[in-house]
Assembly symmetry: C2
Homo-oligomer: 334 residues x 2
């Protein structure tokens, strides 16, 4: 099941493992000419689709140059391709039926293998990624160095080539203002905490991505254990903060969350940041048993489907038109 | 039908005529002892209830000393008695079945005869008040002076003894900020414009009461014509302001009004002033055809039934408790 509709515990929303791999004795994509790129891509496709693994039949292949902009935006929304792949050339991707796996070719590295699942499941996601990694390696040789590990276009990815991340919803820690202290306390162990849309973005709606900063000098197992440990700590603190709100500010909290729900159900125009904050309130309310939304989409799905780029979907829309379209999508589906 | 559930044009909400009368050769209530007060009250009751008029059988009599606080609060809410009559002693009132007429005895004057009706109907309300006035005068003599007209406890009421007023809903003029200019332009012709709850109160929710300042030197007809003229002018300006909002700011207006509706439907705590403002938005939306509320109470009825004194209904409630009770009444009835 696609990650944003899968079960989660109300705090750890989704898990992502991404492995960066490159072929031995082959220049990185940025310096490959079009012909050579196509040739390498063909070999990469074949390594998965023609493998003897049961996985082979589960993937659909997309040459992104032949995919409509609207469909590419959907894939971006589903976190199956990277933003660079919307406008770039010569990219392709394999996506499995349940959209939990995508194998991107000719992005920064020859291969970006990603597993994304709902909830907290670092072990399962890593095992799944490893299995696909092994399938590819059956027919191809990776660029690997005894000292540096897997070689990558950007040196910050070398080593394990792995980026493991968890999307966490920490609205109570954000409301109580304790989040900054918490973030400071986890840095320094090689884990970064940042807003939903990656580096430098604000944590709208109390959504944070925590991921490993370091890919070298630690094994995959160590990276996953450290990340799990931090996630557990953040999770516990968020639970305590929610309990404190419920104990000491129950009426104010309920009023705030219900008002957000009412606005989402009736507003005719909602800006992106406001929508994230209001939908975050509804997620918190649902998780705390205060509101049971019964609409066609979950609040999380609405956050994904009303982000500015997804709303645009390749059309030219003014900010006012986007805000009206966003409000319409939300009130028809909440 | 009680005035707040009767039809109105969306701008002139209700019409009120109040006549102050006193009996000839009888001290004003403030200096009457209890025994004398009871004696005069008996005569006053009799003048209506024992009259040959068809009106007689339409009235219910209430000795307010024997009426529960809760019921008195309801009467105050329905504008059938004055705030002073809640805690005072020796007051009584006759109220007709449809609650459009109340005859208060032993308030500031011996008789305060009031007609209150939904919508704009100064002529009809004045005729109705006059008819009752004539019935009383059939059996009793009023204190009347050739030069000063009807004599009243407070000299500002002498002359016609009449206060005619209209409750107007002017939210568009309030939103556009033009209301102050409008108010200045109508003063100086003996008409005052003030907030819903009388002198010195703020015009929450864009509600204004316009009434005659002068009771002497003008006939009843002249007072009513002047008031009608001003009301017509304010009405036209409000219509223009609404049209301008609809023409130039349709999307923003709809969004604002729908958000107010959503908050009222879901909030768990609403302060009095906020409730008035939000319910005023819903009235405007209904009047402009933007929202069709289908609940058990009209927005106007909810404004009346959630005012602080009505919410309290004689109970001891904290501000937080009142705000929660108000939100509950609104969301169960909107």
């Amino acid at each position: 099941m696609i990650w944003y509709n899968d079960k989660n515990d109300g705090i750890v929303i989704s898990t992502r493992i991404r492995l960066a791999r490159n072929l031995d004795k082959t220049p990185f994509p940025s310096i490959l000419d079009d012909g050579k790129k196509a040739e390498v891509t063909k070999k990469l496709f074949s390594s998965v689709l023609d493998s003897h693994s049961a996985l082979a039949g589960d993937f659909d292949a997309y040459m992104l140059d032949d995919v409509s902009r609207t469909d590419k935006i959907s894939m971006l929304e589903e976190h199956l391709i990277s933003p660079e792949m919307i406008n770039g050339k010569g990219h392709s991707v394999l996506v499995n039926k349940s959209k939990t796996m995508s194998i991107m070719f000719m992005e920064e590295d020859h291969i970006r293998l990603q597993v994304i699942m709902g909830g907290s499941c670092l072990d399962k996601a890593y095992e799944t990624a490893s299995r696909v990694d092994d399938v590819i390696e059956e027919s191809l040789s990776y660029a690997f160095d005894e000292k540096f590990g897997y070689l990558t276009a950007c040196p910050t990815n070398a080593g394990t080539g792995m980026r493991a991340s968890l999307m966490m919803h920490l609205p109570a820690l954000t409301m109580t203002g304790n989040i900054d202290r918490v973030i400071r306390s986890v840095s320094g162990v090689g884990i970064t905490v940042r807003g939903l849309y990656g580096e430098g973005t604000e944590a709208e709606g109390g959504f944070y991505q925590i991921s490993n900063q370091i890919t070298m000098g630690l094994s995959e197992r160590e990276i996953i254990d450290r990340l799990s440990g931090i996630a557990q700590k953040l999770s516990d603190m968020e639970k305590q903060a929610r309990q404190a709100l419920a104990d000491k500010h129950k009426n104010e909290l309920e009023d705030k969350l219900f008002r957000s729900y009412g606005i989402l159900k009736y507003a005719r125009s909602i800006a992106s940041a406001e929508a994230k904050n209001l939908l975050s309130d509804v997620m918190l309310a649902e998780s705390m048993g205060i509101i049971k939304p019964s609409g066609k989409m979950t609040p999380l799905e609405m956050i994904i489907k009303t982000s500015p780029s997804v709303i645009m979907g390749g059309q030219e829309l003014s900010a006012a038109e986007r805000d009206r379209k966003r409000a319409e999508i939300i009130r028809n589906n909440i």
